[in-house]
């Protein structure tokens, strides 16, 4: 599915880390999010050094790794997902870099030669399982050449994050490189739910308003109200992670807890916030 098309109407983009607390429970959670109105899914592949994450998502990543979640399990999970929304893979560059014929690579390492050939194998496998694009928080535009090329080869999108500090030529270049959507970082810092959406949000959106690519705002969104405000400020999508992971973190008995129900309710609040924002934007001013 074409990622940009998912933003024809303002979109709700939830994030979860796959494997927290297990791959099978993630399946239930994802289905609940879709029932709650998800338009795009950002699914995290856990990496041991999640330097861009705040404590909430960091905790989720740790639990997923402790559960033994591997890239291959992640791909199989996405492959078997039966949902009607595009999936974006969010992870860190080293996992892309390492993926491939590990046996051959280790043999080559033992011989003293470096064998890693970049993200090619990872992208190929992602395309196979139906992933639409990537968000890689530790890969700035300057280092993204090989991944951008691999994505082009396999028809995948590569989403870049525009930070409050991103300006001028770098912003231009990033918009050029980005496809699918632009991830607009609402404030400085790391991921994490906040009670208020930063004032920086509007300024950040204004900065990229001229570009013809969907803009999805993330970092700190936790309520339907916030989602509505963000869409009213001009966003084409709202990305929510920590507020959902907070629900996942409270899971209890794997067979009997109500996490899916609560996730669905939270997703509905957020997607309805997005829809309300879209409706307000559609009305003529002053009404």
């Amino acid at each position: 599915m074409n990622l940009a098309d998912a933003f024809d109407e303002p979109a709700f983009v939830p994030y979860l880390c796959v494997g927290d607390p297990s791959v099978e429970r993630t399946r239930e959670y994802v289905q609940a999010l879709v029932r709650g109105g998800a338009d795009v899914l950002e699914l995290g592949l856990p990496f041991s050094e999640p330097i861009a994450e705040g404590p909430t998502i960091q905790g989720s990543v740790v639990r997923a790794l402790e559960a033994g979640t591997t890239p291959e399990q992640y791909f199989e999970f996405v492959d078997s997902l039966d949902v009607d929304v595009p999936v974006v893979c969010m992870t860190y560059y080293n996992l892309l870099y390492q993926y491939g014929d590990s046996e051959a690579q280790r043999a080559s390492d033992a011989s003293g030669e470096a064998a890693s050939d970049g993200p090619e194998s990872f992208v190929e496998r992602a395309a196979e399982v139906g992933i639409s694009g990537f968000v890689i928080p530790d890969l700035p535009a300057e280092e993204a050449g090989p991944l951008r090329a691999a994505c082009d080869d396999h028809g995948l999108d590569l989403v870049f994050i525009v930070a409050p500090t991103t300006e001028g030529d770098r912003l231009e270049r990033m918009v050029e490189l980005s496809s699918g959507y632009l991830y607009v970082q609402a404030r400085l810092g790391v991921t994490g739910a906040k009670a208020d959406v930063s004032d920086q949000t509007e300024a950040s959106l204004a900065k990229v308003s001229q570009y013809d690519i969907p803009k999805a705002v993330g970092f700190g969104v936790s309520s339907g109200d916030q989602a509505r405000h963000i869409v009213e400020a001009g966003a084409d999508g709202v990305i929510v992670g920590s507020a959902l992971v907070d629900v996942v973190a409270e899971h209890g008995d794997p067979d009997g807890d109500d996490v899916p129900e609560r996730l669905e309710a939270k997703a509905r609040e957020l997607s309805e916030g997005v829809a309300a924002g879209a409706e307000n934007m559609a009305k003529p001013e002053g009404q």
Partner: protein
Amino acid sequence: GTFGRYGGQYVPEALMPAVQELEDAYERYVLNNVDGFVDEFRRRLRDFGGRPTPLQRADRLSDRLDREVYLKREDLLHGGAHKLNNALGQVLLAKYMGKERIVAETGAGQHGTATAMAAAHLDMPCEVYMGTRDIQRQRPNVFRMRLNGSEVNPVSAGRGTLKEAINETMRDWATNVEDTHYVIGSVVGPHPFPEMVRTFQSVISEEARAQVQEQAGQLPDSVVACAGGGSNTMGTFHEFVGDESVDLFAVEAGGSSLAVDEETGVAPNSASLSTGTEGVLHGARTKLLQDSDGNVVESHSVSSGLDYAGVGPELAHLVDTERVTPVNVDDDEALEAFHLLSQEEGIIPALESAHAVAFARANPEQLGGLTVINVSGRGDKDLESVIEETENRELENAPGMDIFERAAGGSGGGL
């Protein structure tokens, strides 16, 4: 920004402008001495830091190994380790850049204490991130940072050690990037850090190269330094890299074994140059200890200062191009070398530095006729752990420590 296939700037977008601002400042102040930065840095290194540090002929070690052994005495630098060369340089640079706040990470506490000292000296507010487990294990260094006026922020994620502290400092930097400089403690991280830290640390080899020629009338046949992240290694090697006759040995921590336990995700060593594979960690492409998926494994060494899963990209490149020879010694050999240098030279080395001595001791034939070993730091910080580790092993040259029982059992007046 790269060294062969290594290096780069793999950081969140929010940090890129800061990284680029640092690149500019590095070029301006450090490389081109604008506003007399380099002059002030050198003066403060001398007056505050105690440079130059001596190059000392080790008389008894020379006899024992039947060749000329010289020690570069970075243990005499203010704070007790080479770390100040870099910390002072970066805090001063932050001041020139108009930054108002310093953050740093620390594992064993050596880089944290050096940064805290430099920040106090230059009147910059400073916060140091440190794992909760390391805080409990390294109390004296925590005291020192607090006494120097730095905040110490406990990091409870993961195992509560260096790797987690680095992640957390990156997060602080990403949040406060506009007024804050992150003082990275080794030749790691995104460009320009590896090159900049190496430049600040190169004063070691600059001095050593001149001193050995003055004292011995020749260049050394070999130079030996321990390698964790690689800052003392690169500092000790840099000025010798162009001297093709000088063999350069980077001694890594072999820990208890060179194998990685994929099941538990633990490498009982820190030998990323010898056994690591290429990957991306903490902002740079380099050699690191990782599992086959690409997740970073826990490293181990009896020396907490070497206990890091990555290594500087320039050092990785120098190993690939065979200019630097990576070697390693295990925990036992390092402890024996610690005791050897303490007893025979009157220098209690850091456990990190003991690795370099241990390699020289075990492989004298590889050193040529004259070798320079970098004693990167003093061992006062390691006393308690050395006593503990020594008690658990059979080391031929370890002194007994029953003195405390004897002192407790003594009778008064002694009739």
